[in-house]
Amino acid sequence: MTRALILLRRRLVGSVFVLLIVVIGSFLLLEAAPGDAVDAYIVSTGGDAGMIELLRHRWGLDQSELTRLANYLWALLRLDLGQSVTFSRPIREIILERLPTTLILMGSATALSFGLGSALGIYAGARPGSLRDRFLSIGSLALYAVPGFWLGLVLIVVFAVDLRWLPIGGIETIASGKTGFSRAADIAVHLVLPVSALGFIYLALYLRMMRAGMAEAWRQDFVLAARARGLPRRRIVLAHVARNALLPLVTMLGLQSAQMLGGSVVIESVFAVPGLGRLAQEAVAGRDTPLLLGIILFSAVLVVVINLLVDLAYAVLDPRVGAGEASA
C-alpha cells in the first residue's frame, strides 16, 4: 500500500470521532447559552404566555436536552440534518445554498494570501536583511495588525464610495438576470473587495514564515555546497532555499483554513455576502441549535478534508513523511 493511502485510512477513522466530539460539544455549549430559539424570536414580536408555549411545543423545545440530543444524533445517522427553526426550511438545503459562496470567498482569499504571501516572502527572503526585506516585513505586519472589519470598511469607502470602481457589497448584482459568463464576471467583480479584505490580513503570516524559513536555510551547509558548485543564484533561491522553507507554509495553510471560516463571519457581514459565516452568526443570534450544528459539522468536515489534503501534499513534498509507516 502506498504511503498516501495508509495516511488516508488512518485519518478517516480519526475524523469520525473528531466530528462526533465536535457535534456533542457544540450542542452542550449552545444549550448552556441563556435563552432559546423562542426567546430570540419573541424579541421582535412580543406575545402572550399561550403563544410562547405554543411556539416552544411546535419547535420541539419543550423536550429535555437529552431527548433532543438523542433525536439529533439519530437523525444525523440517517444523514438528516433536520429543520431550521429560524428559517423553517431543511438545514441541508440552506447550507448547500450558502456553501459555494463561502468556498469561493475563502478559496480566493486563501489563494491570494498564500500565493502573494509566499511570492513576496521569497522576494524578501532572497536577500534577508536588505531594504526590500525590511519594507515588506513591516508593511505586511501593519496589514496583519489591522482588524478585518476595519480594513473592509476602508476598502468600501475608498473603492466603492469615493472612486466607485467596485460595488459596496453583495455577491452579485441584484435581480440582474445575468447568466453564464457575464454572471461569473459579475460575481468576480463583487468578490474583489471582500477577498482583498480577508486575504491581505493573512498575507503577512505566509510572507514572514517564508522569509524566516529562507533566512534560516541560507545558513545551511547544502546551500553553501550549492553555491560552491557555482549554481546560478536564481536556482539556489528557488530550488534549494525556497523549497525547504515551503513545508511549514503548507502546515500553516491547513491550520489557517479553519481560521479563515472565522474571519469570514465578519467580512461577510461587512460586505453583505450571503455565506456560511453570516448564517452562523444568525443561527447563534436566533439560538437555532440544529442550524448551527449543521454549519459546524460542514465546517468541521471542510477542515478535516483540507488537512487531509495538506498531509497528502506533505507526503509529496517531503519524502521522509510517512516513510516509517510504510511497513506497518
Binding site: G35, D39, A49, M51, I94, P167, I168, V189, G275
Partner: protein, 536 residues
C-alpha cells in the same frame, strides 16, 4: 425596466446601454408623480415569517405591508387618524358588542380571485384572534364575524369591547389574507407565509436568502393609477455602517428605520442628493424605559425610585444619546399621541441633591466608600441607544451613591434574563406605543402576568388600585370616558413609578432626492407605498 437601473457594476460589465442611462439625476420638484422605476432600499433583517396577519411587527410590516393590506391605515388628517384601505367605513354599536365594516368593492387578490367579507371573517377568527402576537389580546372576546353580504363584515364580541380600541388597532392588527389559500392545511405552515399573497399595490416576486427581496407592481391594484413604482427591491445589508455607504454610492435610494446610525446623520445630510427625513414614524413611537425589579427591597421603596427618576437628566439623554432625535418623556403615553397624552402628571426634574436627600430619607445612607447599595443593570441590546443609555444610567446612579454593575447580553439572553428569570434589578427597555394604551402599554405595569411574557410587567410590581383602573378602562365603551381613565392611568404610573419613562423616539429615513411622497402618513415606512415614486 430593470436594465435601466443605474449601476456601477453594469458599467464595469461595459454595457453601452447602461452608459447611456447614467445621466445624473436632476434635482427638482416634480408636481405630478412619475410612473415606473425600481426603488432599492436597505433591509437589515430577514423575518422568518412574512405573514403580517400572524406576526404584527414592524420588521414584517416593512416588507409585507406593500403586499398584504389592512382594513385601514393611519393618517395625519383623516377622521380618528385613519384612512380607508380594504374597509371603506367602520361603525361601532353603542353596546360595544359589534363593529360593522363596509368593504371596498372590486378588489382582487394577486391570484385574481375576488376579495370578499369571507376573507375578513376568516382572517379575524382563524388568524388574528388565535395566532397573532397582538390580536390574541385585542380580539380575545371576538366571538363571530357575520357576513350578510360580500362587502359587509360584522364583528360580534362576547363582551363589550371599546370601539376606540378596535379603531386604534386597525392599522397594525388588521392585515387580511386570502381565505382560499389559507383554509387548507395548517396556517402556520402555509407556503404563503414566506411568499405572501394579498391585495396590495405590490406582488411578492422573489426572495434570495441573505441577498434581497423583490416586489413587482400589481397591475390590477384598486387604487387609481397606483402604484407608481414598477419594482421595490429590499437589499439585505446586515452591517449598519454599510447602509450609509450604499446610499452615498447610489446603490440604494432609501434607508428607513434608522438603518443609517444617528452618528452618521450629520455627515450624510451634507452629501448632495441625499435628504434626512424625521417624519413618517409618528405612529411607531418607541419609549426608553427603566424597568424596575420590585422584588429588590431597596427598589420596592417609592423614595428610591423617585431618587432614581430625579437622578436622570432627560434633556442630556435626548441631546447626547439620541443627538436630539427624541423627546423627553413624562409618563407611559408618548407626547406625540393625539388621543390620550396628558402633561398633567407628577414630574421628576433633574436634581441630584434632592435624589441624595430622598435616599438618605429612605434609610440608605452612604457607606464610607460613598456607596449606598449595589445593583445589576441590564440594558436591552436591540438598539445602540438603549446600550448607550445604560452607560449613562450607570454614571447617573453613581452620582447618587448607587453602584450599578452593567450586564451585557445578546437579545435572546436579555429576554430570558429579564422576563423569565427576573435576574435583574434595573433594566433598560424600549417598549413600543401602538396607538392605544390597551394594546401593549398597560401590560407593562399590570400585575398577574405569567412569567416569560416579554415586554410586560415582570418586575413583581403589584398595585391593586392601578390594576382596577386598567380593567375599568378596558371595559369602558364611551370614548371620552375611556380617554379620561387613561389620563388617570398616566398620573398614577408617574406618581408610583412602577417603571421610569425617560424618553420617546422613533426612526429616521435617509433617501435620495429623487424619491417622492416619502413620510406622508404616521406609519409611512410600514404602509403600502402605493403613491411612492421615483423621479429619474
Amino acid at each position: 425596466m430593470s436594465e435601466l437601473t443605474i449601476s456601477r457594476r453594469g458599467l464595469l460589465a461595459g454595457s453601452a446601454l447602461l452608459l447611456a442611462s447614467t445621466a445624473l439625476p436632476t434635482i427638482g420638484f416634480a408636481q405630478t408623480p412619475k410612473k415606473g422605476g425600481r426603488l432599492v432600499l436597505a433591509a437589515d433583517s430577514e423575518p422568518r415569517n412574512l405573514n403580517p396577519a400572524i406576526v404584527a411587527s414592524n420588521g414584517v410590516f416593512f416588507l409585507s405591508s406593500k403586499i398584504v393590506e389592512t382594513l385601514a391605515e393611519a393618517s395625519f388628517d383623516g377622521k380618528d387618524g385613519l384612512q380607508p384601505r380594504l374597509a371603506l367605513s367602520w361603525e361601532g354599536a353603542a353596546d360595544g358588542l359589534s363593529v360593522t365594516f363596509q368593504l371596498r368593492d372590486g378588489v382582487k387578490w394577486h391570484d385574481g380571485k375576488p376579495f370578499t367579507s369571507a376573507d375578513v371573517a376568516f382572517s379575524a377568527l382563524q388568524i388574528w384572534k388565535p395566532l397573532q402576537n397582538l390580536g390574541r389580546t385585542v380580539f380575545k372576546d371576538l366571538a363571530a364575524v357575520d357576513t350578510p353580504d360580500e362587502l359587509t363584515a360584522i364583528f360580534k364580541f362576547a363582551k363589550p369591547t371599546p370601539f376606540q380600541l378596535i379603531r386604534n388597532a386597525l392599522p397594525a392588527l388588521s392585515s387580511v389574507v386570502p381565505k382560499h389559500l389559507y383554509e387548507v392545511g395548517k396556517i402556520e405552515e402555509n407556503p404563503a407565509n414566506n411568499a405572501p399573497v394579498g391585495t396590495g399595490p405590490f406582488k411578492f416576486a422573489e426572495y434570495k436568502a441573505g441577498q434581497y427581496y423583490r416586489l413587482t407592481r400589481n397591475d390590477a391594484y384598486w387604487g387609481k393609477d397606483e402604484p407608481y413604482l414598477d419594482e421595490i427591491v429590499y437589499q439585505v445589508l446586515p452591517d449598519r455602517t454599510s447602509a450609509a455607504a450604499a446610499l452615498e454610492a447610489e446603490e440604494i435610494q432609501l434607508a428607513a428605520f434608522s438603518a443609517v446610525p444617528l452618528a452618521d446623520l450629520d455627515r450624510i445630510s451634507k452629501v448632495p442628493g441625499l435628504k434626512v427625513i424625521t417624519k413618517g414614524y409618528e405612529g411607531l413611537t418607541y419609549q426608553l424605559v427603566v424597568e424596575v425589579n420590585h422584588r429588590r427591597k431597596e427598589l420596592a421603596d417609592l423614595k428610591v425610585r423617585q431618587a432614581i427618576a430625579h437622578a436622570i437628566d432627560k434633556d442630556f439623554v435626548v441631546k447626547t444619546v439620541f443627538l436630539g432625535y427624541a423627546a423627553t418623556a413624562t409618563g407611559p403615553v408618548p407626547k406625540n399621541d393625539p388621543q390620550f397624552y396628558t402633561a398633567d402628571v407628577p414630574t421628576y426634574p433633574f436634581d441630584v441633591a434632592k435624589a441624595n436627600a430622598l435616599l438618605d430619607e429612605a434609610g440608605y445612607k452612604r457607606a464610607d466608600d460613598g456607596k449606598r447599595f449595589a445593583l445589576k443593570l441590564l440594558p436591552a441590546p436591540y438598539f445602540n441607544e438603549t446600550k448607550q443609555f445604560g452607560d449613562y444610567l450607570r454614571q447617573a446612579l453613581a452620582a447618587i451613591g448607587i453602584d450599578a454593575e452593567i450586564v451585557n447580553n445578546d437579545s435572546a439572553a436579555h429576554i430570558k434574563a429579564v422576563y423569565t428569570d427576573h435576574a435583574f434589578d434595573l433594566a433598560v427597555g424600549p417598549p413600543v406605543f401602538r396607538g392605544d394604551p390597551a394594546i401593549s402599554t398597560t401590560i407593562l405595569v399590570q400585575s398577574g402576568i405569567p412569567d416569560g411574557v416579554p415586554f410586560s410587567n415582570q418586575g413583581g410590581y403589584k398595585n391593586a388600585e392601578l390594576d382596577a383602573l386598567i380593567v375599568k378602562a378596558s371595559e369602558t365603551l364611551d370614548t371620552s370616558a375611556r380617554t379620561e381613565l387613561y389620563k388617570e392611568f398616566q398620573k398614577k404610573v408617574a406618581a408610583d413609578l412602577p417603571l421610569i419613562n425617560v424618553a420617546e423616539w422613533s426612526f429616521i429615513s435617509v433617501a435620495r432626492d429623487t424619491v417622492g411622497n416619502i413620510a406622508n402618513n404616521p406609519r409611512w415606512a410600514v404602509s403600502n407605498w402605493a403613491d411612492t415614486y421615483l423621479e429619474s
